[in-house]
Symmetry: C2
Subunit: 144 residues, 2 copies
């Protein structure tokens, strides 16, 4: 599993630091690596009750964790990614909110899917970062 | 011009309020309405120096306002949207950062383009909200 750590941190507050960047990227990779084995539980555990969600197969924005759970239920066991590259992950953060953006290459055998991704994380009062917004889209879907 | 205001606000802080929601949506609509006439200056003026950007035509994430200016230069005058519907805009905010998500139907004559959109706004020290992250993608690109 290729594991790139070319992260760039943009901090808008003196109290945010490199640790936030590393924490957010580690949370994302942990959920993604489960996802790649057909297991959506990592993303579901990481998502807040109020999460909103877009991907190339949704007809409109999905609102709330219950809607996301129902949606992911049908995908369980369908994904088999053998290798991934998370390209240029970047975290832009203030104290309680952080935006993670990256491109992702996901390999399934000879096939590669190329993605744009935006995750917005909120620092909950418990001290846990949770995803409140996910947006997945294909890079250049016209060329797919 | 259809102008829907079915906004829902999710506030994670006692100091954020309905005003933030209305402010953010008004900023977005103002930039979008210029865009619809082929003028990208609204979005460029609203974007921070450190903005990151995805759309269905970019090969990878664009980083920084200069890159976005260069990219938009080629599109100037190409867009002629006669009507739009911003569907279910939602703002999730803490004091200094806000996420706006919505679906957008853009009509050019008989043709309609259907979009997912995520904008992340940062409250700058000047008191001005600026976009630090934009993600546009097509709804169900496989059906286009």
């Amino acid at each position: 599993m290729k594991n790139l750590f070319m992260a760039k941190m943009t901090s808008f507050s003196q109290t945010t630091n490199e640790d936030v960047c590393e924490t957010i990227i580690a949370l994302e990779k942990s959920a993604l690596e489960k996802w790649n084995q057909g297991d959506p539980s990592g993303y579901l555990d990481l998502s807040a009750d109020e999460v909103v969600y877009f991907d190339p197969f949704t007809e409109k924005r999905l609102d709330g964790l219950e809607a996301l759970k129902k949606y992911y239920e049908a995908i369980k066991g369908q994904v088999h990614v053998s290798k991934y590259e998370m390209l240029n992950p970047k975290v832009q953060a203030v104290n309680e909110m952080a935006v993670l953006t990256f491109n992702l290459f996901s390999y399934e055998g000879d096939k590669v899917n190329k993605w744009n991704c935006t995750e917005v994380y909120l620092l909950e009062k418990s001290g846990q970062w949770k995803i409140i917004q996910t947006h997945w889209s294909f890079i250049r879907p016209d060329l797919k």
